[in-house]
């Protein structure tokens, strides 16, 4: 059986404003529907029913006024009292409209706040300075070059600016990988410095003497090397591949020098 809108709303324990908000209708319209001043527009019925989680058929299209409630009154239009002077003539269209009573009054301007004292810049951390030094080394840049690039002296940067600068440099470092950067996968494998040493010895055709774990000596020039082995050619022209794990030490021999045992 259909019921009055105001009764249904109160059953749901929601305010007029909430119902209006949920239904997406003006609050004044809801009040008019509830007071019975106006019948519910069929176009709005579905929205109101959904807002109340009820069927449309449960809502009376024309609500009865709430018992004891004063009839809903609209604000009467302003009328000049009798005997009062006539209202002033309408201002020209170009003049600004007079302020209406619903508009907010102009607040008096606040006194400007006293300005805060300027913050003292926080100097960069020692670790940031060290990190910058290392990054510049990797990038093969000088401080002067960096300062020319960023357009300001490094000494003037505070901690935050330093952090940003380091982030940018790290991105740059990632984008320009160094060809010499190498890390051995297994501990006994040829790493960066040994790789350079062997490469130079191979290019120069140096004679190297190797000592193996079992005491076996081996002497020859480097033919090539991999991460885990070095291949040499001995005096007889035979190629021998030495496993790195089997090596104790090795050394270049000067011309005519006897191997060091």
């Amino acid at each position: 059986m259909a019921e009055n809108l105001w009764a249904l709303r109160e059953q749901k324990k929601i305010s007029v404003a909430t119902l209006a908000n949920r239904a997406g209708l003006p609050i004044g319209l809801i009040m008019e529907y509830e007071s019975g001043q106006r019948g519910i527009d069929p176009r709005h019925l579905g929205r109101i029913a959904r807002a109340l989680y009820i069927e449309e058929s449960n809502i009376k299209l024309q609500s009865d006024p709430r018992p004891g409630a004063a009839p809903l009154e609209r604000q009467p239009a302003w009328e000049a009292p009798r005997g009062a002077p006539p209202p002033p003539p309408a201002p020209p269209a170009s003049a600004p409209p007079p302020m209406r009573s619903r508009e907010r009054p102009v607040r008096p301007r606040m006194e400007p706040r006293p300005s805060r004292p300027p913050r003292t810049p926080i100097p960069p951390r020692p670790s940031q300075l060290l990190h910058l030094e290392n990054v510049l080394k990797r990038l093969k840049m000088t401080v002067a070059e960096l300062e020319a690039e960023i357009g300001k002296p490094i000494a003037g940067l505070d901690r935050g600016a330093f952090s940003t600068l380091l982030k940018d440099l790290q991105v740059k470092m990632r984008e320009t990988p160094l060809p010499t950067r190498h890390r051995a996968y297994l501990p006994e494998s040829v790493d960066e410095f040994e790789g350079r040493y062997l490469t130079a010895a191979q290019a120069a055709g140096d004679l190297l003497h190797f000592t193996l774990f079992d005491g076996t000596p081996a002497t020859g020039v480097i033919v090539g090397f991999s991460p885990y082995s070095i291949t040499i050619r001995d005096a007889a022209g035979a190629e021998i591949t030495l496993n790195k794990l089997a090596l104790v030490s090795y050394r270049k021999l000067a011309g005519g020098q006897e191997p060091v045992r």
């Binding site: 290392n134 297994l186 501990p187 410095f193 000592t211 774990f213 794990l245 104790v248």
Partner: protein, 151 residues
């Protein structure tokens, strides 16, 4: 020779049994054996070392003392002596002793100036002990060899 290097040598003598097979045979935690072999810092404890000593049939003490002579500890000494330009003595696995200033080092080898024109390139896995032995040296170092290969 660090514990990791020695374990690798023992494994090589077992005709290259894999770390996973050893973990399975001994019941070690998955990944622990590989870490004990490959990490530069000291890995493992007395229990795991005892298990591995049984597995390889070697005395427990022969493995245990090596835990205190890790590759990482050698890095600290190398760094300190290189900065101070003091000589380092390396006692090698084959009984050889090499003394000299550190020329360079990386994860695999150390170059010592032992006299003469050319440095001696010592394989780090052949280093048994060294002197002087420094517990803690300078904190950071930008050269090679300070960090673990995988860290």
């Amino acid at each position: 020779m660090s514990l990791g290097d020695y374990l690798r040598l023992l494994r090589a003598r077992r005709r290259g049994v894999t770390p996973w097979e050893i973990e399975e045979a001994t019941g070690l935690t998955k990944g622990l054996y590989r870490q004990m072999e490959q990490r530069y810092r000291a890995m493992g404890d007395d229990d795991s070392i005892r298990i591995l000593a049984d597995y390889y049939g070697v005395p427990f003490d022969d493995l245990r003392w090596r835990l205190d002579w890790s590759r990482k500890a050698l890095n600290r000494t190398l760094l300190a002596l290189a900065l101070d330009q003091r000589p380092l003595t390396l006692h090698l696995w084959n009984g050889q002793v090499a003394t000299g200033a550190v020329v360079w080092w990386d994860l695999g080898a150390v170059a010592l100036n032992v006299g003469g024109d050319e440095p001696l390139i010592v394989q780090r896995h052949a280093v048994e002990r060294w002197s002087p032995r420094l517990a803690e040296a300078h904190a950071t170092h930008d050269g090679a060899g300070e960090e673990d290969a995988e860290e």
